[in-house]
């Protein structure tokens, strides 16, 4: 790999590793609180998958950076402004409908993203993507079916699901943004051009939303900044809870 690409690759790995780490934590918050035992287990399983993916991506980020930070150092000893996840994944879990709609919007992006990333010129990254891609397909099937069941369910589930979709829509655009970091890696064949994935994403989301008798929100305000470390007020609170044990007992093992 071209040595000059190293900082961009670290940044890219943090962005996509952090997406999964933060989403995994939000999903894990459902553990013991799911609406049914099966769903409790399903959300915990999906949390395990994406946290496992975060583990692989952050470990690679640490090795690429070469400053001696491993995945645990990156997960537990960085502050809010150093996190590079999209704001979509940090929003509080809300009700089950909110969690499902967020998951669906993310999964519908994640499947084509990982599919494209399998073709990365970076061999290890391509391998991680190939593995995660298979998992993401299961996640999408699960979340899409739930969007339909909730949207086309009772009046209350329909209303809550539509509200979640309306609230979350403004946070989806950030997933498809491309900046100088991406452009350098796209040119080197290491990263896919996520902006090119947006039309197919929108078509797939529209198909499920229609089947769920929901209405696709219009594009208005576009939340952005997560990729540069600018977050909603929710991330810091989440990190405080996620990081406190590791920070209170550095080096502890159990």
């Amino acid at each position: 790999m071209d040595e000059s690409l190293r900082p961009a690759l670290v940044e890219f790995l943090l962005r996509h590793g952090d997406d999964r780490l933060v989403l995994g934590h939000r999903l894990a918050e459902w553990c013991g609180h799911g609406p049914a035992l099966e769903e409790d287990i399903a959300l915990a399983n999906i949390a395990l998958d994406v946290t496992g993916q975060a583990n692989l991506l952050l470990a690679l980020a640490g090795r690429t950076e070469g400053m001696g930070r491993d995945q645990d150092a990156l997960a537990y000893f960085r502050d809010e402004r150093d996190f590079r996840n999209a704001q979509l994944v940090e929003l509080p879990k809300g009700d089950f409908g909110f969690t499902i709609v967020r998951q669906f919007l993310f999964d519908a992006y994640d499947v084509p993203f990982l599919e494209a990333l399998q073709g990365s010129a970076h061999e290890e990254l391509a391998g991680i993507a190939a593995k995660a891609y298979k998992e993401a397909r299961y996640h999408l099937r699960h979340s899409a079916e739930w969007v339909v069941m909730l949207g086309d369910g009772t009046a209350e589930s329909h209303e809550r699901t539509q509200r979640a979709l309306d609230e979350l829509w403004r946070f989806t655009h950030e997933l498809f943004e491309v900046d100088a970091v991406d452009r350098a890696l796209i040119a080197a064949g290491i990263a896919p051009d996520v902006s090119a994935l947006a039309p197919a994403w929108r078509a797939r989301v529209a198909q499920v939303v229609e089947r769920a008798t929901l209405t696709l929100p219009g594009d208005g305000f576009r939340a952005r900044g997560g990729r540069r470390g600018l977050h909603t007020e929710h991330l810091g609170i989440m990190l405080a809870e996620m990081q406190i044990v590791a920070r209170s007992h550095p080096g502890a093992s159990w």
Binding site: I41, D49, V50, G52, L56, E124, G127, K134, L140, R141
Partner: protein, 169 residues
């Protein structure tokens, strides 16, 4: 260490075949396809493994069990190498191991989904999965996600028994 002949790949695989999966202790890590290769490199045995799922919590235990088994047979220096490509698939589980799963009460996986399969099916898929207890094909999917990432939960309408299936992956 006593002088001994360099073990062949087959001999190492036979040894690793005694290491059972911690979550499904009737199939070995070789039968599952988690062990991809084993060879002597210099003075150490290098075992190449691939995780089933990215977040499989059993991987660390599997690696420790592999080391323990090799140490017990006089291989003092063991290195585990993890690879992600090609990605693990349930298609690597052979017929004998599938029968062991069934006898243990876990329905074996069907063929792994292909990239062409509908991603958002919008309706329940019609896959015939036989109950591992009564062999009835009248079973229904309860959840894609079971007690471990690699299993789904089904219910047998014939013998009224919930059971797990190794998901096709």
């Amino acid at each position: 260490m006593t002088t001994r002949a360099r073990p062949t790949r087959d001999e190492l695989f036979a040894l690793l075949d005694t290491v059972m999966d911690p979550e499904v202790p009737v199939v070995s890590v070789v039968e599952l396809g988690v062990v991809r290769d084993a060879a002597v490199e210099g003075d150490e045995v290098v075992v190449t493994v691939t995780p089933t799922y990215s977040g499989c919590p059993a991987m660390r235990e599997i690696e420790a069990e592999i080391e323990r088994a090799l140490h017990a047979h006089g291989h003092e220096r063991v290195r585990i190498r993890t690879v992600f490509a090609p990605a693990w698939t349930t298609d690597w589980i052979g017929p004998a191991a599938r029968e062991k799963l069934r006898a243990y009460g876990i329905a074996p996986p069907g063929p792994a989904p292909s990239a062409d399969d509908e991603l958002v099916p919008l309706r329940r898929r019609r896959e015939v999965v036989r109950c591992p207890y009564c062999d009835s094909p009248d079973t229904a999917l309860r959840s894609e996600f079971g007690s471990t990432a690699c299993k789904s939960i089904r219910f047998c309408n014939a013998c009224r028994q919930p059971f797990e299936q190794f998901k096709a992956f």
